[in-house]
């Protein structure tokens, strides 16, 4: 390849290098005025959801990575940026941007997701249900493994990017999230039903369960980084349950993942999770990590920008 060809290739692919776009958007949001960072008590899950929604008016900006090993193919690093906004105390809305780099292949943007979660009951009950509805517009090269469903198996991820990205998924994903917190222990169970809106695609099913607990239940009197209450540890398990024509565990993949979150007093949350495949259809090993920051008053700051005749002031 000549030097000019290399320059052209680099320029043509600069913006399709999703990490650059992700970084710019994230920086712009983090630098935006009017919102204050807020210490959050975030759960450690990567795949499971508990029943807690974003506080109203708050925006959480999150970045997550999944490094995956791939038998009969190239290992990959998939990542997504998530913008989670508390519209009300019973409704949280999220926007995701997905991308991946496959080693010895390429880096590509793989799609976006719009997600909404609705709290169904006003008060805390023995089990707390939340309805989850998501629209996914992704390519077949999406590898973030945010959920496992249907007959998803490791070999689905072995195609080279140029081939995999020719598939386009328009999916509606629904979940019933059930969760309960008792004596510091959170137990969450998610039932997943997904439909690719393309004709002839069946409903696919999956599950995710998680359990977690802070290492300390009482708060210490002073702000500290290494206090036990800042760490939340747990375990997740998730996998596919086939589709409407072949429901069950046949040709499905399943994962077990210890999870840990560290809620720092400097407003950041760090998460890490090694993931182990439980059968031959699963990736043998994944490692996930994430970083997030929550901003309070983001909704108000945004609303002020569009308020007529008040000069942006109260």
């Amino acid at each position: 390849m000549s030097v000019s060809a290399i320059v052209e290739f680099r320029n043509r692919n600069l913006c399709s290098a999703p990490s650059a776009s992700f970084l710019i958007i994230t920086l712009l949001l983090w630098l935006s005025g009017g919102s204050k960072p807020l210490w959050a008590q975030e759960n450690p899950y990567f795949v499971s959801y508990d029943h807690y929604l974003e506080e109203p008016g708050n925006l959480e900006v999150e970045y997550f990575s999944t490094f995956g090993t791939q038998r009969a193919g190239n290992d990959f690093h998939a990542y997504w940026t998530e913008f989670e906004y508390g519209a009300t105390a019973w409704w949280t809305t999220e926007f995701y941007l997905d991308a991946q780099s496959t080693f010895r292949d390429s880096t590509i943007f793989t799609g976006f997701r719009l997600e909404n979660r609705f709290r169904l009951l006003q008060r805390e009950h023995f089990i707390n249900p939340v309805l989850y509805v998501e629209y996914e517009h992704t390519s077949g090269a999406d590898k973030i493994l945010k959920e496992v469903e249907g007959h998803d198996v490791e070999s689905d991820y072995s195609d080279p990017n140029w081939l995999a990205r020719q598939d386009h998924n328009h999916e509606i994903e629904t979940k019933l999230l059930l969760s309960k917190t008792l004596k510091g222990w959170n137990v969450a169970e998610n039932t997943i039903a997904t439909k690719n809106v393309s004709p002839g695609e069946p409903w696919e099913f999956g599950y995710a369960v998680g359990v977690s607990r802070p290492l300390g239940l009482k708060a210490s009197a002073k702000r500290c980084s290494f206090c036990p209450e800042n760490f939340i540890a747990g375990l997740e398990m998730y996998g596919g349950l086939g589709d409407r024509y072949s429901f069950g565990l046949h040709q499905t993949s399943h994962y077990l993942a210890p999870v840990m979150a560290w809620n720092l007093p400097s407003d950041w949350t760090l998460r890490v999770s090694p993931v182990f495949g439980l059968n031959d259809n699963s990736h043998a090993f994944l490692i996930r990590w994430g970083v997030s920051r929550e901003f309070s008053g983001f909704g108000e700051a945004l609303a002020r920008m569009f308020k007529p005749g008040r000069g942006g002031r109260e």
Binding site: G57, A89, F95, L114, K183, F306
Partner: protein, 152 residues
Amino acid sequence: MNRVSFRAIHACIRRSLFILALIMLALTGATAAKAQGQSPVSAKSDLYAELGKVPAKAAARRNPLENDPDRVAAGRKLFELHCLECHGEAANGGKKGPSLRAPEVQQSTPGTLFWLLTNGVVRKGMPVWSKLPEPQRWQLVSYIKSLNDVPR
């Protein structure tokens, strides 16, 4: 870096700004939907009314940390982390949350405040705080009950 590279970076920034604008548009829509028909004053007084709806058994619960010397200091830290944004720095009330120094709150039993923290008042914007472990919620209750002992 050559001129073509600058052009590519510019295109990249433009694309990022476009995505950002889409996000902001979606969030503004959600905010507008939330704000529609809401009166902050009536919302706040409605929240005091919720104190009277707490079940008697829950209201009668005693604070298990009442002999813990660190309970108020720890509660203050938790208040600053989770509650200050809505209820104001001195807990005198903010844009979204009512004053916690009001007689309605201060005359409530610890059990009442604990129940309200645990369950929230979701339809009026007060989130559920059961994600904080029970001892932390009792620490918060201790701090709220101590508010009239400390200067505004």
